[in-house]
Symmetry: C2
Subunit: 199 residues, 2 copies
């Protein structure tokens, strides 16, 4: 790119934050143009369409989320405490003031229909990716005896994924940070308690 004026990665980053905050339909291409300071011609030459840009956005979101999870797990004394820190940070929001406490992928599958079948399918696939990342962490936690080994990491990850969806959505609905933290503690007690996870 001999004549590249814009930083495409930074553009995707800003577009991601905007889509995350407002959703797919409520974010107009004119909003995007203003946020990333590009004119329609450049945007369409670079990304192709609103759908394609949104696709880049949810991919970027997922990649960043995975990185953040792994960073917490690596820098913590144990996989499980790293996992908890990741969840608390996702909801309470550290310095990285996120556009929403809700998961961007959950917002996406909540909003989109078959009118955007490709995006919907991809959001579901990316959520499965994140679930796999949870399974990896939980498998490591099992080997360290932090979590009941009688249940498969896949089941535990499924359970955790569902809990995180609920927690982040609940946090978006209700203001009290204290009560949400209490719910997080409740979730982790049910996760470490061995006898109450099995169906």
């Amino acid at each position: 790119m001999p004549n590249a004026k814009y930083d495409h990665q930074e553009a995707i980053n800003k577009a991601t934050r905007l889509f995350w905050a407002k959703g797919f339909h409520a974010t107009s291409m004119r909003n995007i143009q203003q946020a990333i300071d590009m004119r329609p011609g450049s945007i369409y030459a670079t990304f192709g369409s609103k759908e394609a840009l949104f696709s880049k956005a949810i991919q970027h979101y997922t990649s960043t989320s995975k990185d953040r999870l792994n960073a917490y797990v690596e820098s913590s004394t144990s996989p499980l405490t790293g996992l908890k820190k990741f969840i608390e940070d996702s909801i309470a929001g550290g310095q990285t003031s996120a556009p929403s406490t809700m998961c961007m992928l959950v917002k996406t599958i909540a909003e989109l229909t078959d009118d955007n079948a490709d995006l919907l399918a991809e959001a579901k696939r990316l959520l499965q990716d994140l679930e796999s990342a949870f399974a990896d962490v939980l498998a490591r936690a099992q080997k360290m005896g932090e979590v009941d080994a009688a249940r498969s990491p896949e089941y535990l990850a499924r359970y955790l994924q569902m809990q995180i969806m609920g927690l982040r959505t609940y946090a978006h609905m209700q203001g009290s940070k204290e009560q949400v933290m209490e719910l997080i503690d409740g979730v982790f007690h049910s996760l470490t308690g061995q006898e109450h996870l099995s169906p």
Copy 2:
């Protein structure tokens, strides 16, 4: 109304199902016109605006949900089994083939922003109403010894509300009905188990 051609209640019912399936933004007034077989003039004379009609819709949804919950609780051998049947029916969907496994109010707070501040606030308020209904049921379950009495019904309802949000959203993401039912069982084990709910 000496000259009323349309059944307004049935119109609200159909509009609710459409909004529930497609969300606020993706549902156009022309979609509504077709679904309820009314022309724009009549719709606006009756309901005032798209926002006002959507407000009626989420109120109707909440009212129906509460009725369905109470019906399950009354017709069951115990409050807790009624609660579980309500949840299973909400997700698996009985004969009432719902437009979505996801909670309409969750979809609403996931999609809307401050651009529709009134609707957003009302959806949150209606979710609190449902949480109160859960608290009533859980208090009755406590008196019957089905649920740990050491925790307040308000906390338990908060916990349950969060779980339902997660369960229904997860069910919408992932196809396997079997795995979702397994998760529901897991939730109820954590709800009945006394030692693992406290933070």
